[in-house]
Symmetry: D2
Subunit: 246 residues, 4 copies
């Protein structure tokens, strides 16, 4: 996939060069051959475009959509804070559209993902296929019903992006490694309080290490200007609760 | 390595159980055997401790130190925003103490790291050995002198945490893949402006995609309290400049 | 003026009850008499409305508009940080639409305001009349030309919301009291740097006390939800530079 | 009172020139006459000091202390958001150390302040005397017992900086003007939720207009540096809940 940037408008276009078609946008038209052989092209309307290889980050923009996508600021912090690596084994519930799943998949050894709604599962599968993820086990169903059946100390991370996470915490969590992480992604601070109640009851098994909110500010820096970017202050997404398994 | 948490003070202790010694702290003493066989132990002074397997994140606390360590909030965003994966190839200059290097190493295919000060290089090597990183090439020297000599389109990410990053940008950057990222980690917004001047000159080769500041807020949520944690608002660290190679 | 709030949509309506007319909105119709005699009224379409006396803050919403209005978060901090009081004397340039002017006017002894564009001056005058401000001297012209002509130690605060503030700082500032404040409201950090250059030259006369950015976050707290309000994170407005006159 | 700033260390000294004494600090010694007649003085140790008239903001640093002082960022926003003016009448409970009281006093027509602890009341009285506030009625006692006894529509603002604010909200609030404000200053978001429960019950009388958190960031801008100031990111103080009286 190619990322094509209009130098005039700054618009980003994602272009599948394998479809053997020319490039058409409101800003003009460019021949496929031109795009395959140049890093800068001019359209029939005399507009200039930059041609770049799309990154995995770009490709997410082509994901089939449903609910809000988890952002790089939150996902990156989970990966950096838990220090996921190629040896890690991840269990995930609430697959979203597969953004977290595909990112975990490209880093860790294996991912097991639960999604309760069949139509969402289909979208996730389609998105994972698009990203060529081959180490993900996708499961239709409720993690609550099955988490107790996994072998002991199998997973390094349990990532929960779903309603009523506190119910999962009440289950048998022996499959999470001692010292491993349970990370809850919850929009409301009241949900954090619900989580802490379960931790208080299970304080022999769960340790609340950190509740963090990640805020990103994009800046406009060019020429004589350096200021936070209007309309790019990120809206609130969620609180991240990091729990250690004892 | 074990992470041992005092349930009374919340203090974290890092304990190397391979040294065949008992555990001694100001909060009391615990026998090695006790620690190896339990998840909760009581010291001779009747204090309770939780025993967890240390994560890679914990292990950084045992790094030999020099300059300020790059934080998970920034490092995670770089990894999430650039979507590093096990296929990625990273070039890095300004090794810090090896925190970024060891994290990249545990995720990507290979890392090449330049450090200009010999004493820093020794610390980095020691830290990388501690983390068992075996896919890092550590180079003593100035990246400016050698970046032009790498083969074309070798690297997915060039990560710069060093003074005068704009000088590197002026060099021959053919070794960075088309569509790949150059990420500059700079403390002052004036440095971002210096960077944009080079990009303006090299606008056929470099595209400024985003300048972002990542802010983390830790929260205290327990019982009847839910508020940002006093003395845990993170100080400013740096601005992250994401440049795409054309 | 009345503030009328729809309990269903949360919409705010500003209603001038002195115009002897009934209240008409898309949400329905209410008789004037009803509004004058009740705190809660029902429209012909059976919608409920709360009736409140409008505050000065509400009235700003009826201001004739031009450029972006200065926000309460910034204006409040200026007043609180400089500790304006009924004894204070304020000089202001760049009148905006009169929001700062009318607020200063309602607190301090006297305000002198410069505005260089005649059409803006007319709007400001109209807005000040609407707010019944009678202690403001409105001047058409460039403060740069006249600041040197004021008597010594007349003003407690010089408030600058205009381009090229550094040019004002280069002028004769004897009319600002020793210990008094010069506050610059500037959108870009590069303008702060321009200001510091003048201060460096005039370090016998000007002392840079603080450069601050005020960020407000609105929260949605109701029932089982407590989270930052989507789409209400405030965009960046400006940096506030607090300079003390020596 | 004079504010004396060391140009070398940036230290601020507050000096009462009416005490007829010379100025002594660790940084050296300056004669009183020197200070009274100059804006820049040199100490016996050859250190340079700037001499400024202290502002009301400076004077707060000489307040007798007890609990944490309310900050200009929060106090300013209350004043700016409620648009207090010389006509306003304020009722306040939880006097802190008199910081809010003295600021309200210097702006509005009259302030009535309740404080339940006698020792705090003494400190507040001493601080108000120091600031020459003569329009404050200080009351020893619990606002809950007396709020119902005030005449109808007397106050423009009820400002609550005390535990269990929700109990005050449950009382007879007829003394607050229709359209007037009740502002609660509460450290924890859980307290906001307690407040909303009372508002839900009294929805014919109280309207929740806004819950806001004010964050200030101080910047270091000088020479070639422009970045947020390390160790000056403000800790969390409180959430501000703005309620309109119907």
């Amino acid at each position: 996939m190619k990322l094509i940037i209009s130098t005039k408008t700054g618009n980003y276009y994602y272009f599948d060069e394998t479809k053997n078609q020319d490039f058409h946008t409101k800003e003009g038209f460019v021949k496929l051959d031109d795009i395959l052989n140049n890093k800068k092209v001019i359209s029939n309307t005399n507009k200039e475009f930059l041609v770049l290889e799309a990154s995995d980050f770009d490709k997410i923009n082509k994901f089939k959509r449903g609910p809000q996508l988890i952002q790089a600021k939150d996902l990156g912090y989970v990966v950096g804070r838990c220090r996921l690596s190629r040896k890690s084994c991840v269990l995930e519930a609430g697959g979203g559209m597969g953004v977290a799943t595909s990112f975990f998949s490209s880093i860790v050894d294996s991912v097991t993902t639960y999604e309760i709604r069949e139509e969402h599962l289909k979208i996730i599968r389609s998105n994972l296929d698009f990203m060529n993820c081959d180490n993900v086990e996708l499961k239709l169903g409720d993690l609550n019903d099955e988490i107790g059946s996994y072998e002991k100390e199998k997973f390094d991370l349990l990532f929960l992006d779903m309603p009523d996470v506190e119910k999962v915490l009440e289950k048998d969590l022996k499959s999470i490694k001692n010292g491993g992480y349970i990370v809850c992604y919850v929009p409301s601070i009241t949900q954090v309080l619900d989580i802490t109640k379960v931790i208080e009851e299970k304080h022999d098994e769960l340790y609340l290490e950190e509740t963090t909110e990640i805020i990103s500010r994009q800046w406009k820096c060019w020429g004589k200007v350096a200021r936070p970017n209007h309309r790019k202050e990120n809206d609130h997404t969620a609180f991240l609760v990091f729990i250690r398994k004892i």
